[in-house]
């Protein structure tokens, strides 16, 4: 097998290797779904980086916890449970229209897709608003002590994911309204895929920030 490289190198400067077509791929599809699309993989790549970022924040939270005898520290209030839990519920519920618009997108049903996307967008804006209220529900300013800083860090880091997903879904919704070429449906399905991740990765963060102080 190495004979070719060996002899040809001795022959000196080589010309290009001619390419001889033997297969024709012009009938391959140009719009495909799920992991057959590069943007799906790109999304997974960003998910990995974002999950790593959140894990750094959560790990810092537990690391700082070890510096305190009581958690939250003395004279620091527990975070409220009400708003954050409502916010969590709204987020999870927003996955229902998300799932529905993804399913409609795979059926190329424009009307259903757009309808459910609007529902999802509205719910995600509500969730974003609730998340902004959650910062108040932490009952402590970010600069009060290290507990406050790490709690804010976890909530804020995830907030950037939530905001990005909400705005992305809004953008897609607007695009889908105007257009109906088949090529945008896979993007819509990926947006749903990202939303599942965004909500799933919030759950351990929620537990860490709102429940752990009540347990330790």
């Amino acid at each position: 097998m190495t004979v070719v490289g060996d002899i040809s190198a001795e022959a000196g400067r080589q010309a290009e290797r001619p390419l001889r077509p033997v297969v024709n791929v012009s009938d391959l599809p140009s719009v495909v779904y799920g992991s057959r699309v590069v943007t799906w993989w790109g999304t997974v790549g960003f998910m990995a980086a974002e999950a790593a970022t959140l894990s750094a924040c959560v790990a810092s939270y537990y690391y700082v916890l070890r510096n305190f005898e009581s958690w939250p520290p003395l004279r620091t209030a527990l975070p409220d449970l009400f708003i954050p839990t409502i916010s969590l519920i709204v987020l999870i519920l927003a996955l229902v229209p998300t799932y529905l618009f993804a399913r409609a997108a795979k059926r190329f049903d424009k009307r259903a897709t757009v309808r459910w996307m609007w529902v999802a967008v509205v719910m995600m804006f509500i969730a974003t608003g609730l998340r902004l209220m959650e910062f108040g529900a932490l009952n402590v300013r970010w600069d009060a002590n290290a507990y406050a800083s790490v709690a804010w860090a976890v909530v804020f880091a995830h907030f950037t994911l939530l905001l990005a997903d909400t705005l992305e879904t809004l953008l897609f919704t607007v695009i889908m309204q105007r257009r109906d070429p088949a090529r945008y449906y896979p993007g819509v399905a990926e947006d749903a895929f990202y939303s599942y991740f965004m909500v799933a990765v919030w759950i351990p963060c929620y537990v860490t920030v709102y429940l752990v102080p009540r347990w330790v």
Partner: protein, 650 residues
């Protein structure tokens, strides 16, 4: 069906199926736009990678000059060439630039240039994202050195330990400039990593199943996965530091429950994989060179690939060996000694396999191969000195001494820069169409090889002699003057070697002999196309029949036809076996990636001074991303072939 025109009415037209016509049509579609605008809007992976390589090499040069200045200062005890403030800025920006602005971007750019060609595709998976990544990196680099040249250069060390780097002990904006430079380069690195992974997973040539992927490509994929997991940690840490300084968070302030060690854990959890992120691509380059210049495929392909993966995983379990002098439980520390030792095993396996390749090959010792031998000779010293450092009791004596710079430069110069320079001589013909001078190449090699040893072996000795590191001077009665002077002389040799290398590049660009497509007789796909490569890489996507794509077949290469020639289309294949799966249209050149990078730049740089900058940046980014994602006007003759999602193929 048109009637045959009369021969007398028609001038002789070029055959539309000739290679020349095909080349012309594809060039027309794939080339960059003209002039400055074309340069700013390019989404061609080779254009972007090449400018990124040049940018990285420029930062290397600046950081190298800083090193030379430091060595002049240290050549004599109590020297007054440079005072402590400037010295601290120099060593901080030297380390930061070398790690964040040279090493990682350089290996990623080499990947972005050659991986698509080696796997037989026409561009990376996300052409615009690639452009965005470069501009973001450039802004970060300019930021760091703008700081240095305005006397606001970071001065807290590239590792930026708190509390020294915190608001209490580093007033001004020096540290904040460093922290934001980290953010810029982290974004760029993650972007490049995603490009490499997705391109390799989805766009390989038909027939290039995973076990036929060249080891160089494997190394770049492993490195990219590591980037995705490690970089966010340093970005989180630097964001926390920036927030401590800007809005009074208390992450690292022990009086409010924060912890200086939190910084160290976060930073080194990134920092140790970081050096393997830099080193593994070096291994990939060595693999490529050894195979070509031994005239046989790399021995032990499976072992080499599995070792690369193992090194990638294991490197995440070593970070505490940077913290042995801190109050950590001793049992924990012993674990990290063992883990640090363990990573030597897969590293050794790769080196043994390359020695076996040379042993059974028919090697030629042209300049690229000299650099490989240099890599073995230098990196092994670095690795063995690393074992001394991994042993807790010995580490407590030699850590934070000059032994460390000795160790790190042996592994970084031996493990990455030497393979890089070998790869430079190896691939220069492919990029430029000209050969570099072998004579000058050999002279630079020897200057560098001797220079590295003369510079850094004395530093190993100085550490043992008791000299601490990160010092701008030392007292005369320590007796360290002789070894320091020797080290500084060595630095001069290195500078000379680099200078000759640059001269070699310049002369070869101007007047080097023509290279042809395959001057070395290589086995990987980049040697099948012309030098320099056309903008579209392959006129037809080749089909690969074996691990050594060009050595598996003689004569013509099988290929696929059917991709459109009137727009930018690439072929996507399945992940495991590279079966043709779908076609995908790529975007035309656009200014949006640059605008998005500028939006990020505005936000992050303004944010150094006022948090409102982040809000402004976020809004600008949203606008830019909306422009990015907005559907482009449908082109004529667009007909999509849609595959309904129940198809099971991946």
């Amino acid at each position: 069906m048109s009637a045959q025109p009369q021969p007398a009415e028609r001038a002789v037209e070029p055959d539309p199926n000739s290679p020349a016509s095909l080349h012309a049509r594809l060039e027309q579609v794939w080339r960059n736009g003209p002039g400055l605008w074309g340069w700013l809007t390019s989404v061609n992976h080779k254009s972007i990678a090449l400018r990124s390589i040049i940018t990285a090499f420029t930062f290397f040069g600046i950081a190298g000059i800083e090193a030379a200045l430091m060595r002049v200062q240290l050549a004599r005890p109590e020297n007054s060439f440079i005072g402590p403030d400037l010295y601290n800025q120099l060593f901080t920006t030297h380390g930061s630039a070398m790690m964040f602005l040279f090493a990682v971007p350089m290996v990623q750019s080499v990947a972005l240039y050659f991986v698509p060609i080696m796997i037989g595709t026409r561009n990376v998976a996300f052409p615009r994202l690639n452009a965005f990544g470069y501009w973001t990196y450039l802004i970060g680099g300019v930021l760091l050195f703008s700081g240095l040249f305005t006397n606001t250069g970071p001065d807290q060390g590239w590792f930026s330990y708190v509390p020294l780097a915190g608001p209490g002990f580093s007033p001004g904006k020096r540290v904040d400039i460093w922290a934001q430079m980290i953010t810029f380069t982290e974004i760029a690195a993650i972007v490049a990593a995603i490009e490499v992974i997705v391109t390799v997973f989805k766009q390989r040539a038909p027939g290039m199943s995973l076990n036929r992927v060249p080891p160089f490509v494997w190394a770049m994929v492993v490195m990219s996965f590591m980037v995705l997991v490690a970089m966010p940690y340093v970005a989180t840490a630097s964001a926390m530091l920036a927030m401590d300084r800007l809005i009074a968070t208390q992450f690292f302030n022990y009086t409010e429950g924060g912890d200086a060690l939190l910084w160290q854990h976060l930073f080194w959890f990134f920092g140790h994989p970081e050096v393997y992120i830099i080193f593994i691509p070096g291994l990939g380059m060595v693999s490529a060179i050894v195979a070509t210049f031994s005239r046989r495929p790399v021995f032990g392909y499976t072992a080499v690939v599995l070792s690369l993966v193992a090194i990638g995983f294991l490197s995440f379990g070593l970070w505490v060996h940077h913290m042995f002098a801190t109050p950590l439980p001793q049992t924990g520390e012993s674990f990290f000694t063992a883990a640090s030792a363990m990573i030597a095993i897969p590293t050794g396996v790769t080196i043994f396999c390359w020695i076996a390749t040379i042993w059974s090959g028919r090697p030629r010792f042209d300049t690229p191969m000299l650099y490989v031998i240099g890599f073995i000779a230098l990196f092994t010293i670095g690795g063995l000195s690393g074992l001394l450092l991994a042993s807790v009791p010995v580490d407590l004596q030699i850590t934070d001494t000059d032994f460390l710079p000795g160790h790190i430069h042996y592994v970084l110069l031996g493990g990455m820069v030497f393979p890089l320079f070998g790869a430079l001589h190896y691939w220069f013909p492919k990029v430029t169409g000209r050969m570099m001078s072998e004579r000058l190449g050999k002279v630079s090699f020897w200057l560098l090889f001797v220079g590295v040893n003369v510079t850094f072996f004395p530093q190993l000795l100085l550490g043992i002699a008791g000299m601490p590191r990160r010092v701008y001077t030392y007292l005369a009665d320590t007796g360290w003057g002789g070894l320091n002077l020797t080290s500084s002389i060595g630095a001069g040799l290195i500078a000379l070697g680099i200078l000759l290398l640059v001269v070699n590049i310049a002369r070869s660009l101007a007047a080097g002999p023509a290279a042809g497509a395959d001057p070395w007789g290589g086995e990987t796909l980049e040697w099948a196309i012309s030098s320099p490569a056309p903008d579209y890489n392959f006129a037809y996507i080749p089909i690969v029949h074996g691990r050594s794509a060009l050595w598996a077949d003689t004569g013509d290469l099988d290929a696929v036809a059917g991709l459109r020639e009137d727009r930018r289309e690439v072929l996507q294949t399945t992940m495991l076996d590279a079966v043709p799966d779908s076609r995908h249209e790529h975007p035309d050149p656009t200014i949006v990636p640059l605008l998005t990078a500028l939006a990020v730049g505005v936000g992050l740089i303004w944010g150094i001074f006022d948090p409102i900058g982040f809000d402004v940046g976020a809004v600008l980014m949203f606008i830019a991303l909306a422009a990015w994602g907005w559907p482009q006007k449908t082109k004529p003759n667009s007909h999509e072939i849609v595959e309904v999602p129940n198809d099971r193929r991946r």
